[in-house]
Every structure is written in structure tokens, then in C-alpha cells.
Point group: C2
Chain length 575, copies 2
């Protein structure tokens, strides 16, 4: 796995080359962020010819290591204006790795007003006209057509209608093992793909050599210990499997950190109606699949297939974040309504966090009534149609807030704040404020330690200890995001030392290295410094590491405020 | 003239106080920028309670010095996110100065969802309910109603429908001597006024003491020399008077610097149809007023009253910038259509530069056809109605560009680039890039020296000499903007040394000072450093001092590009 594919959309030239030596030992986020920092002009227009879109499997992708199938996508973000890495499940990462490709770098902009498909198979890489019938089509239909054309086993990355329109909430969607949809959601990477007129990347690994493992015995042994760790931990082995990520609704509501009515309250009375327990019960009663892996090799299986009353598939990857943002923050007290919205966002190809937070904001602005699931679904439909209102919503919360003259706009670096109130879960508030990604819980998921007491316990309502917590988790996460591992493995490796060691052992066995835990920590720091360095050149300063001013209001039920000083916040990146 | 009015819209309390000693010698932009830098948190939300809206007459306002009636308005800008000063004609500045008020500072935000009028007269300052019938009404009608209620001689500052909606292109409009409209246009200050729920400030100076002049003989003498200088200079004494600012259409077209079709070309074939010569001819034939002062005491009289075929008033303050942006950049080859758009923008209360550039951008995005005056007028009407599309346009060029996924978006610091192509008029390009105000020709009008050979000559198509030119003009302008003087006096004082000296002599005579030219220069530098310091704390870096990347394309007819290096650009503020 040591080749780069470079596709220039200006000239339509393809180059397959050995990856430069400096990128040895980098995969996933480490690779996308380093390539973007090395090759993209930080002040460039994100939709212009100087931006590059980079796909990279993780270091362990392509192996049979549990949960190693995440694909990283990176670029300068049209949403934040800073560097962006977003990763996703699906089948792309493992197939790409097995074909020996370490990175796919899409450059330039075509002069022609038409869309292309980049096709990768063992015969090479070609650029073909995109089938006319998928342009403007929803992702479900488009993936079906592409699967018919390129074979059902082909992995697919696709920009939906929102990406074609270059809207800042557009995601890059990936076909999952069942032909459904997973997404590299955050930061508008689908708009970068759309700007380059790449409708899809299709990757068929038939006949590929597979990845090379330097010491396969040691690898096998470590992989076993690692998978056992995942199965043993109560969060990855039980909670996530049984109730999905949506198990968090009741947990956060109980903790008083479930943002409700555009971040006015941290608790509400209808949470259980939309929580994971109710959702699993519903799926079980209707014949849905309460548990499902988003990529082959997943042992956590937090995904699901949610079905309607007649047992008909509605959506999968129906996550806590989306259910929170529309269900609690937007007060849509109805799982079925939420499921149709989730499906519609996947189909249009927008980040369901950004879009759902934006819809709750639109409710707050009086554009549609609070809690109106039909009106929310209509707004998502308008994104796909490209109406003025649809384009506003599809541009994300920051722009929607400006267009409607609002001050209560939950964004950091113009990216929507996720599902944990920073006043009640202070560690994750520091992550929102400081990560180079813009508000992103996954960049340093302090909720684990603040609320679930994984990796120890730091009081969520007090400041003490949270700066260190956010810092350490951001460093660790940057490293984990480079392995191709699902972030949820962090629950296990934070609590189970042998699982953590097994992760490092797998990397060492695969690449013939002898990395230590310190090396992994250093890798994490290097990635963060690279990303922050890019952002500094793009015009970001500490002034951008701040939460919106409305968080100085007290948040019921704990009536805590966001009370970190600027100096305290700036300590997070003091390493 | 040494009192501050502080109006707190949270508590509805009014305080009239002696201005602190540190503000002695500061007026206009010097005062608004210093107060904003001293009192406004740089990272605050521009529409939130921590922003303040500051009105300040210039140092010479209230006297009979020619052209001394400009009112400065300052705040943190909702458009740029940085500090903003925008100034305007009208009757406000002189009346405010004659009442002894050096500054009006509007603070806080009301909890109530209603609008107020701040009334200032010799009995004091009160906050009254705004008349219900002016809410949502166009500015022409609202000013008429307010004039009936508060007396025809009252000065009025007003936020139009766009300001009520807190749109980032909203301006603060001022009643002119004939009851028509002048505007502090740039940077969305009307949105700040709207956020504070101040519909209007009404100021009646009946019975006011007038300004105190320390040495009235010396003042009278200097004022005479100064006015003669203005009358003597060919630009201020002739060109502007006869043809208005719109004299520039043919001049810039000839120079190849008249941006056409969203900055694709620097020259077009229909310029003369919309130029000042044609416009004056038209007004003369129809019985309009080709020459008119925007404030009492103006001897340049570049304004006009443009009328329709039947001699009916359409608009005044019908400027080159607007005519360029819609007529050349948006290809609306029809002065009458442009006049109706200009009136509509004044009526809705939006910056006609920002909005007209945005409309041309919307044409480029395919929202309306190129050159369609009726469609443009409809878009402006939609701003007033607050439709989704209207709100997009009313949010300015930066947001419109994002919502429509465009890369050809002429903004710096999110403010629309004015009427001189930076590739053909390089000095003003450096001003666009570096002024703390966001793209603004008035901040350092290098066009004077590049094109009109005022104050010497620096080649517009070459880099040499333009860094110094922009720097020196920005420093001088910051000082001039503090005097209450119309910027156009710069043409005269750059070329006529005795006019320049007379300006300083007037300030010295009025305040009993003995400032030198060096002191004035230092004042200019201090203002710029204060403004840039605020912006740095708000999160601006040198990376924001850049023109959009599309200016690397060649601009016909000279086929020059924007070729300054980052290091060269950064030299402008090296003082």
C-alpha cells in the first residue's frame, strides 16, 4: 500500500506514482492533513483550482483487524475555510488499501460543465463521463445505477445533488456493505468534489493483491486481543451494539447536556420517545435490524436498518447526532419523522449534523414551526431542488444565521456544534472551541470521560481537568483517525491497556516497525500541529477558538455557563 | 462640542456626559474607531449586546467650512466582522455638532420585540416608541412621516427595512437637505442599528448654541482659502460639479479599469450610454437638477436629482459606483433602469455598492439574466419583502457567492469590491486588500493618482510606487475622515498646498491648537493602527489582506494580472 493516484481534473490526466518517502507511516487523517498542508495554498478558494481532495485509507485498512475500514477524506473546507478531515465507513477504504493505494489526490478544475466518474480497478485509473441519469439524482438511486454499471461489489464514493451545487453542508457519501449510505459528513467535502466535477469514484478491487503484512503471525495474535477488547468493554461490546449511538439520548438527557430548542435547555421531557431504547424496541417490533456494521470487519455494529410500520427499509446510519439535532434541538418528537429526514439528508448528500442543526435554527428564526417534521422534510427537499431557501439551509448554520439576522447561532469556525451542551459537558466544549476542524465532538470526545466515565472521570460541570482531558483526547484521536479505525475503539483502548497495546502491535506487525505508545502520541501531536499550522496560514488565530457568545447564558437544569477564560482555552493547544 | 450621549437599549437609560479627556482632538472616524476599539469586545457578535453603534460629527462639522458636514458611523461590522466606519452627507452632522454633541453611543439590546426612535433636542435625549406606520416601510415614506411628526427641519438617521431585518448589506440612511436620502452605506451598520431596535435617530437643533470657534477671524480666513481651493481645482471645481461622480464611467472605461460582467473585462462598448456626460444631458433635457449638494455648505455639489421623462423625481445621490456595478458589471445598459434600482436600494436601506455588486454576481450565477433591469429591481424589492432570495442578496456578495457555490466572488474581508479593477488600477487594489474596512476605494483612493494624475502620477498598470501611494493615501484619508470633510476635498488638497494648509489652519483656529502637517499624518497613522489592532483581536491576519484568487486571470484590454506578492502587499501597513 504505497502508491498515490493523482487525478488532474483540469487536464484529465492520471498519474500513479510511488508515494514520497516522507509519507511513510502516515495513513488516514495523518496522510490527508499532511498532503493538504504540503500541497494546498492555505488562502486558496476552497472551490477553486488550487484546492485538492484527498482520499486515504487508514494504516490498518485492508487487513482483517476489527473496525479498520474507515476512509479519510481531506481538503480545505468550504464550510470552515480551514483544513478538514472527515472519515466514513463503507467498503471504500479496505478495497482501496487492498489495491495498494495509499492516497487518491484529485486536483484542478475542469473547464467543461459536466460530471465525471473516476474508475479505479486492477487495469488502472480512468476518467469517464458520469452516466447522465445520475446527475441531480438522489444518492440511493445513483448508487443503484452505478452498482449496476460497475458491478455490485464496487466501492463507491459519491457527491450528491448538494455536492453538485457546491453547497457547504454537502458530504461525500460512501456505499456501505448493503448498498446503503455512509458519509464523510462534516465540512462540505462534497462541495469540493462537486467543484471538481467528480460525481463519483468507483473502485473495484477484483484481482487486487491485498495488503502486505510484514509479520502475519504477530499481527493475527494482536488482532485477536484487540477484537476481544472491543467485545469485552461495556460500551463497544454492549451499549453501542444493542442501542446504537442513539443510546446517548437518554444518557445525555439524564446528564442535563442534551441541547434542546436551539441550545436553550439541556434536558427535555420527550427524550425517551426518540432514544435508543425506544428505537431498538421499534425496530424489533417491526422487523428492522437493530444492529449492523457500517463496514466489513466491524465488531461493534452500532449501525442499524430502521424500517417503517410495514417493515420497509427507511434508513441506516440513523445516528444520535441527527436524532438529537432534529428531535431534541428541533423538537420533532417522532422517530419515524426523524428517520425520513435522515434518509432525505443522505439522499441529497448533506451532513446530517450541519443540516439538522440548521433546520432547528430555521425553526428558531420562524421559517418553519418548532417540531414540524413534515416542514423539516420539505426543507431538505428544497436543498435538493436548489431553491433559494434550500441553498441557504444547505450552506449550513453559520450562513443561515447570518441570512436571518440571528445571534443564537451554534457554530465554531462556522461549523455547527454537535449534540452535547458545552456548558454541561465542558470537556467537549473545549474540543469544539479548539480543534482545527471547527465544532466537532469526534475530534476529542470528552463526553466519554465527562459522562460515561471511560478513561477515568472528569467532572463535566466544572472547569478543573477539562483542558488536559480535551488536549489528550485530541492528540489520541488524531492518531486513531490515522489508523483507519473507527473512533469508537477509543472506549475500549482507554480502559483496557492490552487492547491499546494490541493496536500498536498490529501497526508494528504490519509495517515491521517498533513504535511505542509515545511514538503514537507524538504522531497525534504532529498531526494537530500540521493542521493548526495550515489554519494559521489560512488566517485563523486564537480568536477563532471561541464558542458563540450566547453560551454565557445559564443552561438548565444545571444552570451552568461557559466560563473558561480565553487564556484557559488557549492552554488546550499548549503542547 | 464636547458631550457624549450614551443610550442603553437594554435599560432604555440615557446619559449625557462630558467626553473623556482622551478623546479631545478626535472627531468623525478617529472618534468612532477609537470608541469602538476601546469599548467593543473584538470577538463579540456584531448583532449582539456587546456591539455599540457610534455616531460622530467631524472636527469641523457645525462650522461654515465648505464640505464639513459628513457624519461618521462606527461599530463592529456584521458584514466584515472587523471594525467599520462609514460616513455620509445629510444634515445630521452639522446639527449634532451645533448641539454640542461629539458622539452618540448606542449600546445594549432591548428584550422587547419593537422599535424605538431616539429623539435629541435642546431639552435632552429621549427614547420613544417608533411610529407603527413606519415599520417595514420604505425610507422615503418613513422619512416623510418622521419629518411630519418631528418637524421638517429635524435631521434624521434611519434604518430601513433591510436594517430591521439585520441584513449585512443594510445601511444607515440620512435625510438630505431636500428630504431625500444619503447613506452611510458600507459594512452593514444599518443591521447593527436594527439589532438594537433603533428605527431612527431624530435630531432637532432648534435653539442650539452652535459650535465654539476659538479664533474666529483666523478661521474665517482659512475657510475662504480652503473653499477657493475647492473651486479652483479642475476635479472639485468642474468635473464633479458638472457630471457628478458618474464622470468616472468614461474615464475608467478609457483607462481599461471599468469592471464589466462581474470583473471579466476592464472596458465595454456601452459605457457612454450610462456615463456622466449622458446623464447630465438627460437631466438637463428633462428638467432634473444635474448639480446638488448632499449637505449644506458643500461647494463641490457632485450630487443631483435624476428625473424621469416627465420630469418626476426618481433619485439623488445617483453615484458612479452604483451605475458602474449594475450598468457595467451587471450590463444594464439603461440609465432610467439604473435610477429606479438606485432609488429602490435607498428605499429598502441597503448599501448600493454591496447590493449592486451582489446583483451582478446573481446574474453570473444565473439567478437573473445579465443586463435585466426589471429583474434587478425585483431582486431589490425581494430584499424589502424578506423573501429567502431577498435575504441572500441583502446579505451581500460574500454570502451570495457561497450560497450559489461560486468562486468568482469580488470581496475582500467579505465586503464587495468597488468600481475600479485592481489589475488595471493597482494602487487602489492595494487599498482594497489592506484597509481594515474591507474592500473600500474611499479608504485610500489611489485612482486619483493612478488615473486622474492628482497628487502626482503613479503608473496604474505597474507595481512600482503603488505600495507607497496606497499607504500614504490611507493615512491621509483616515485623517480627512476625522474632520467631517467630504473625501473629495482630497483632490484639491493633494494638488494645492495652500488648501491643505488652510484645512489644518481651520482645525487650529477652531480648537486653539497648533497642529502641523506631521501631526495630521500621525493622527492618520494612529487611527489606522487602532483599527488594525481591533481587527487583529477580532481574528484578522495578513491572510485576510488578499484579493480573491480570480484576479490572477488577465483583465482585458491591458491583460494585466494582480501580481503583487504577499510580502509586497504586507508592506502597505509597514509604518
Amino acid at each position: 500500500m504505497n502508491k498515490f493516484i493523482r487525478v488532474c481534473m483540469t487536464t484529465k490526466q492520471v498519474k500513479v506514482e510511488e508515494a514520497p518517502q516522507k509519507y511513510a507511516g502516515l495513513g488516514g487523517r495523518a496522510l490527508t492533513s499532511t498532503v493538504v498542508a504540503d500541497e494546498v495554498k492555505p488562502t486558496c478558494h476552497p472551490l477553486g483550482k488550487y484546492n485538492k481532495l484527498v482520499f486515504a485509507p487508514g494504516l490498518l485498512s485492508g487487513t482483517n483487524a476489527a473496525n479498520s475500514g474507515r476512509i479519510s477524506v481531506g481538503a480545505k473546507s468550504p464550510l470552515t475555510g480551514g483544513i478538514k478531515e472527515s472519515n466514513s465507513g463503507g467498503t471504500f477504504s479496505q478495497k482501496m488499501a487492498r489495491m495498494g493505494y495509499k492516497g487518491l489526490i484529485v486536483e484542478g478544475l475542469p473547464a467543461e460543465d459536466k460530471f465525471w466518474v473516476i474508475k479505479v480497478n486492477v487495469d488502472g485509473v480512468t476518467i469517464e463521463d458520469a452516466p447522465a441519469e445520475i446527475i441531480g439524482k438522489g444518492n440511493y438511486e445513483a448508487i443503484k445505477i452505478l452498482s449496476e454499471k460497475y458491478g455490485n461489489k464496487a466501492a463507491i464514493a459519491i457527491a450528491g445533488p448538494a455536492g453538485e451545487m457546491k453547497l457547504a453542508a454537502a458530504n461525500v457519501s460512501f456505499k456501505d456493505p448493503d448498498g446503503n449510505i455512509r458519509s464523510a459528513g462534516r465540512g462540505g467535502l462534497g462541495a469540493v468534489m462537486g467543484s471538481k466535477k467528480v460525481k463519483a469514484v468507483v473502485l473495484d478491487d477484483t484481482g487486487a493483491p491485498g495488503v502486505n503484512i510484514a509479520n502475519s503471525e504477530a499481527f493475527k495474535e494482536a488482532a485477536k486481543i484487540f477484537a476481544n477488547g472491543l467485545r469485552k468493554h461495556p460500551v463497544t461490546g454492549e451499549g453501542l451494539a444493542r442501542f446504537g449511538t442513539n443510546v446517548l439520548v437518554n444518557i445525555l438527557n439524564e446528564a442535563g447536556g442534551l441541547p434542546t430548542e436551539n441550545f436553550r435547555y439541556g434536558r427535555n421531557e420527550w427524550a425517551n420517545n426518540i432514544g435508543g431504547e425506544t428505537m431498538t424496541e421499534t425496530m424489533e417490533a417491526r422487523g428492522g435490524k437493530p444492529t449492523h456494521g457500517c463496514h466489513p470487519g466491524c465488531v461493534i455494529r452500532c449501525s442499524q436498518q430502521y424500517v417503517d410500520k410495514s417493515g420497509q427499509y427507511i434508513t441506516s446510519g440513523f445516528e444520535y447526532e441527527t436524532i438529537w439535532a432534529l428531535g431534541a434541538n428541533g423538537k420533532i418528537n417522532d422517530l419515524d419523522a426523524l428517520a425520513y429526514c435522515d434518509r432525505a439528508m443522505d439522499d441529497v448528500g448533506v451532513d446530517s449534523i450541519e443540516t439538522s442543526v440548521t433546520i432547528a435554527l430555521a425553526m428558531d428564526a420562524g421559517v418553519i414551526p418548532w417540531g414540524d417534521g413534515k416542514a423539516a422534510l420539505d426543507l431538505i427537499g428544497q436543498i435538493g431542488k436548489g431553491t433559494p431557501l434550500g441553498r441557504i439551509i444547505g450552506s449550513g448554520a453559520g450562513i443561515t444565521g447570518k441570512v436571518f439576522g440571528m445571534t443564537r447561532v451554534p457554530v465554531v469556525k462556522n461549523q455547527a456544534i454537535p449534540a452535547y451542551d458545552p456548558r454541561s459537558v465542558k470537556g467537549v466544549g473545549l474540543t469544539y472551541a479548539t480543534t482545527p476542524m471547527g465544532a466537532d465532538h469526534t475530534a476529542g470526545y470528552a463526553v466519554a470521560t465527562n459522562i460515561m466515565k471511560v478513561g477515568g472521570f472528569v467532572e463535566p460541570l466544572q472547569k478543573e481537568g477539562n483542558v488536559e482531558l480535551s488536549r489528550n483526547l485530541q492528540i489520541a484521536t488524531a492518531a486513531v483517525d490515522s489508523t483507519g479505525m473507527c473512533l469508537f475503539i477509543a472506549f475500549a483502548i482507554l480502559d483496557i491497556p492490552e487492547a491499546f497495546n494490541a493496536l500498536i502491535d498490529m501497526i508494528n506487525a504490519m509495517y515491521g516497525l517498533s513504535l511505542t505508545a509515545d511514538d503514537v502520541n507524538e504522531l497525534g501531536k504532529t498531526i494537530l500541529k500540521t493542521e493548526r499550522g495550515f489554519n494559521a496560514k489560512a488566517g485563523f488565530t486564537n480568536a477563532h477558538d471561541r464558542l458563540p457568545e450566547f453560551f454565557e447564558e445559564e443552561c438548565p437544569p444545571h444552570n451552568t455557563t461557559w466560563d473558561f477564560t480565553d487564556e484557559e482555552i488557549d492552554e488546550v493547544f499548549n503542547f
